[in-house]
Symmetry: C2
């Protein structure tokens, strides 16, 4: 890549379509002019109208038309088969052809993963790409992967996830020597399932990793390590459980406060504190999840991403391209060839 990062975006992905995408892109380019250029893929008429409403005039934004799009409920395999015409598929193809340096979609996660795997392939040294999320905590946050790309994993995939997560934590989160934990059901090496036992053996032998041992679900929210690796089934359950608990707590709090006039009065004094609480727990602040290990740069956003999420995703994606994260992943895995490959 020469010059500034060129980011391709599936403009039809996400619950709100091109309107929100255009707003996010325009805000991001206004804040950091010259940091990146954008190519929006999808229904050209809708996109151009959304760009006009968002005041995009004069910004470095291209539009590539395609009429197909993937439904949020569509099965991943079916969506991947239609990839020559879907907005996810066409933006992936642009990346494959070198016309953009990275892609982003807030569409159907399964469909984006399947389309990117088929369209981009994987880095030579990587057996299975993994979807990584950043989970906020009071220690600055932890990267967890895989959260859903591979429901079944072999032990060496988890070692590769550890390398990829470490590189991500080092180059994008500024953690010098990222501590890696293996998700299990107790800290002792004797606790876990067969996958954990075998992956733990490999991780302990890996020379280029700062492996701190087994960790539990709650450690992620205490921030005792920078990277947590697990299979995509367990990681996905963890992700959705976290979402579920947070949503429930906030719902209960709202309900209890609403049903009590005195409490409603009390919240008047708490607005700034509650606003900061929201900011802490707000995944929009943390942007998008990278599919690490594909031969390219692919980020996936939450379906309900608003303009702020798009904006913060674009910043992260530009940094990922600039930092040449994939080159570092390749180097790391090859350096630990006997355990990771």
């Amino acid at each position: 890549m020469a010059g500034i990062p060129r980011i391709g975006i599936d403009a039809m992905g996400g619950d709100h379509g091109p309107t929100v995408v255009a707003e996010g892109v325009v805000q991001a380019l206004r804040e950091q002019p010259g940091r990146f250029t954008v190519t929006l893929v999808g229904d050209e008429g809708e996109i151009r109208a959304a760009l006009a409403r968002a005041g995009a005039d004069g910004r470095p934004i291209e539009v590539v038309h395609t009429s197909g799009q993937v439904d949020m409920g569509e099965k991943a395999a079916a969506a991947a088969r239609r990839r020559t015409t879907t907005s996810i598929g066409v933006v992936t193809q642009l990346h494959k052809e070198g016309k953009v340096d990275a892609i982003f979609s807030a569409g159907n996660t399964g469909a984006v993963v399947a389309t990117a795997l088929l369209g981009l392939g994987r880095l030579e040294s990587v057996s299975r790409p993994g979807l990584a999320v950043f989970m906020p905590n009071l220690a600055g946050g932890t990267v967890v992967l895989d959260v859903g790309a591979n429901a079944e994993c072999k032990p060496n995939y988890l070692v590769q996830f550890a390398h990829m997560g470490s590189v991500y934590a080092r180059y994008l989160l500024g953690r010098e020597n990222p501590r890696v934990g293996l998700l299990s059901i107790g800290e002792e090496e004797t606790k876990g399932n067969d996958l954990v036992f075998e992956a733990g053996d490999l991780l302990r032998r890996a020379r280029h990793l700062n492996f701190i041992g087994n960790v539990e679900g709650r450690d992620i929210f205490k921030g005792t390590c920078d990277v947590v690796v697990t299979d995509g089934f367990t990681g996905n359950v963890l992700l959705k459980t976290g979402e579920g608990v947070a949503t429930l707590l906030i719902d209960i709090m709202r309900r209890e406060i609403r049903s009590d006039p005195l409490a409603v009065f009390g919240t008047l004094f708490m607005r700034p504190a509650l606003r900061r609480l929201k900011k802490h727990m707000d995944w929009e602040e943390h942007g998008a999840a990278p599919l690490l290990g594909v031969d390219g740069v692919c980020f996936i956003g939450h379906g309900s991403s608003g303009p702020k999420a798009f904006k913060s995703a674009l910043r992260t994606i530009a940094a990922f391209v600039e930092q040449r994260v994939n080159d570092h992943i390749r180097e790391e895995i090859e350096a630990d060839h006997d355990t990771a490959a």
Copy 2:
């Protein structure tokens, strides 16, 4: 069993030892005199002193002395080998000999599970007992199992968990036709891992279950079903992730409020609402987790159980004995013999 339930308690289990156990037992017997009798097992001197402080005089409480106890950090297998002298082991033996009708410990969960499995054995129709927890939500709560007794599971274990969880939901939570969900990473039958695919096939064929299909982690906190089944590895991760997120949210809230004098003032008006919030999220209100499928009645409490947790556990255990839950489990699994056995 004839007469009122006789409950054996590991008085040395839990972070606070006999003091808290004695307080909980005395409070429970004061509120429901004649509902059950109690046998406390552990260091007799400590227990008698704690009972005196708690005002136990005249209550139906026996004490059985043993000097051994299990450390919270001790490995399960090691603790189980010492079971002839540990408080967990001796109370289990009393149950085996028919001297009590049920046992309760707030000690080291792994050690209690291992000791109970060895000491009591399993119900004839059950391949693997499972640890069940009640998770609170706005729909009245969901029973989730297994949360840690079996890190590796075969598909038919999950069918047995479904039967045991349904019986528990029916007889102890009053759910008439409990809806059972299989924990996966999407609602579609095509999503999941091999265990989920095979268990799903069996669950769909089970005639005596109200199986509603695959559910996700967040469904538990929405309350879309009464029982959720999963393997003990995933279930344990789910449990600890839930705890971790709830703790983090509450910590952040506290920190934000404390750092802001206006917000501290605001909370004065919110005390009743916050108290109700706490009550909702308070596992102490929900007592203890049954190890379903052992040939006996064994409940396990959280290490930090206070008197309220002991009190609420005793009520639940008495109901479990009175409702003859194990007889119903046996009947249910035998009725669905072709899928569950």
